[in-house]
Symmetry: C2
Subunit: 333 residues, 2 copies
């Protein structure tokens, strides 16, 4: 292990896994820290999900959202993918001395708006201020509690299972990168930042036994989530290139910056692995909700390359998607 | 209101109150944000306490503790003062690129140690990394969930009620300031950083009906907590100067730096307001626990100066302790 923290330690890839597994988890104890999106707690017989996430995105305002919306939606989504109904959220600010109060006001107003839309209450908070130059404008931590009302049973994946995503890939990561680089041609490009709890509830209600796995594809993108699913299993994920919903504007920015959209962050996209016979039903349920209008089947579980994720092109070419080692997009959330 | 964030907005004083009441609370809605140390939630008939706190202290290692211990103890204490048994904690790191992994390791090991002592589990976490110069080494957010097993009934204060503290005042704030200033004569001075849940449980169990209010005296110190208690009431707090437990080393540093120990942060001290007839019983219960060995009666509720806190000297002199407006000790927690 390195002796100093690198940007890649926050990337959602292999360096971060090493840090978390090799240091944090080892110290806190395996019975203590739960490495899923949320911990599942039982209190007085009631199962709850509990999660935390810190947001350090730059720029703090980006096309389609701001750090405050992201902070609410991100935590709502981490609860929702566990099968919990998000209920209560905390909001803790680190503010840099000199930060504009008018911007803080705008951020807080957005947090309230998206919290209302998601149906969660912001119930407790904290504010710290550090000297100019000791933070970057504003960092926000949100922690959340959800009630396990429709727990998603993790089921073993099998050959033939179907991979579904609720819409276009990489919009968040690429719109933020376009903004940072001042690309004028990417005008229509917006972050997909959205709460997914309504979508997930609709999918699970429609097909409680058919969904085997759900995870929002944030840092590290679609490729990272799917790598985690098949790692150390005899299965692989085959993605069909022509089925991958990637907007033309996103493709354009990716080409210029040399970024693979499959590794770019999403903030309103969830991957589901579903029994083959239930795939259409889940797809329809997703499409019935605003956040899933463009849901699509993008691949399937095979046994071709055990433990690997790969993309197959229309003419049968194959490209392996390795687990991300280093950060490609620092501070994307 | 100012148009830019000042260090004082994080001080625990009047500027911070303005920011929280005038902006955050107004936006989130009064039914949403709860301004106590923890929010009280009811889930499936069970009352829970939920709290969040971010730690940005500098230096991150100080006499008697480090930022990790502080992060666990602070959140444990915010739950305990509500009458909750702290159970589950989240831990979210913001790391500055280049931060020494060996220091992170040491911090994490301390977190585990104090969590074990307090009887809480660290169940979920998050790690973000920002570029060198965009944060200051390490910031930690902890959020916590407690079960309301012995809810502290807030009761109206009355003339004659007794003010108790569980030990010496200002140790944390002053030992950190001494460290920052490189004072060599303050060698024996240590932060009081400690979890208070065992102490509070002992006090409440000993005297469930006698305790009217409890609050840990962190940012803004003893004076700030007591000001909040009597603000907009017909009562005042009279503190007896000769009863205030302040260590000689603390007095020495305070004299040099021009700091009033009554406004300095504590990280292991709780104030209790207790019915007169129960004061000795609560005091004894506190003294039976390690964190309360030096508990003392320091004052009483009077009607002399409605809404104010004041110190009376041995010869009858009086000094008002106004609500803190600006930061005296930035980044003390």
């Amino acid at each position: 292990m390195q002796d100093k923290i690198l940007l890649g330690h926050g990337s959602g890839g292999q360096l971060m896994n090493e840090l978390i597994n090799g240091l944090i988890k080892e110290t806190f104890g395996s019975d203590s820290l739960q490495l899923d999106d949320s911990a599942i707690l039982t209190i007085a017989g009631q199962k709850l999900a509990f999660t935390t996430d810190t947001f350090t995105i730059t720029p703090i305002f980006f096309p389609g959202g701001n750090i405050g919306e992201l902070a609410i939606n991100g935590t709502v989504n981490d609860l929702a993918v566990m099968g919990a109904t998000p209920r209560f959220i905390s909001s803790a600010f680190i503010l840099e001395e000199g930060f504009e109060i008018s911007l803080l006001k705008e951020i807080i107003a957005s947090m309230k708006r998206v919290a209302d839309y998601a149906g969660v209450k912001i119930v407790t908070g904290d504010t710290k201020v550090v000297e100019k130059g000791k933070a970057d404008k504003i960092f926000i931590n949100t922690s959340g509690i959800g009630v396990m009302e429709f727990p998603l049973q993790r089921r073993d994946i099998e050959e033939g299972d179907i991979v579904i995503i609720n819409g276009s890939i990489a919009d968040h990561g690429i719109s933020v990168m376009a903004e940072r680089n001042g690309f004028s041609f990417s005008k229509g490009l917006l972050s997909d930042c959205a709460p997914l709890n309504h979508l997930i509830a609709a999918a699970v209600r429609a097909c409680p036994d058919g969904i085997k796995f759900m995870r929002d594809a944030t840092r590290g993108g679609v490729a990272s989530v799917l790598n985690e699913v098949v790692q150390q299993t005899p299965f692989s994920v085959k993605l069909l290139e022509e089925k991958l919903p990637v907007k033309d504007e996103v493709k354009g920015v990716c080409d210029i910056l040399g970024i693979d959209p499959l590794y770019a962050a999403n903030e309103g996209k969830v991957l589901a692995i579903v029994k083959k016979k239930d795939a259409e039903k889940v797809l329809e349920a997703m499409k019935s909700v605003k956040e899933g209008e463009n849901a699509a089947i993008i691949g399937e579980i095979t046994r071709q390359y055990p433990g690997k994720v790969f993309v197959e092109t229309a003419i049968g070419g194959k490209r392996l998607l390795a687990l991300l080692i280093e950060e490609q997009l620092p501070r994307i959330c």
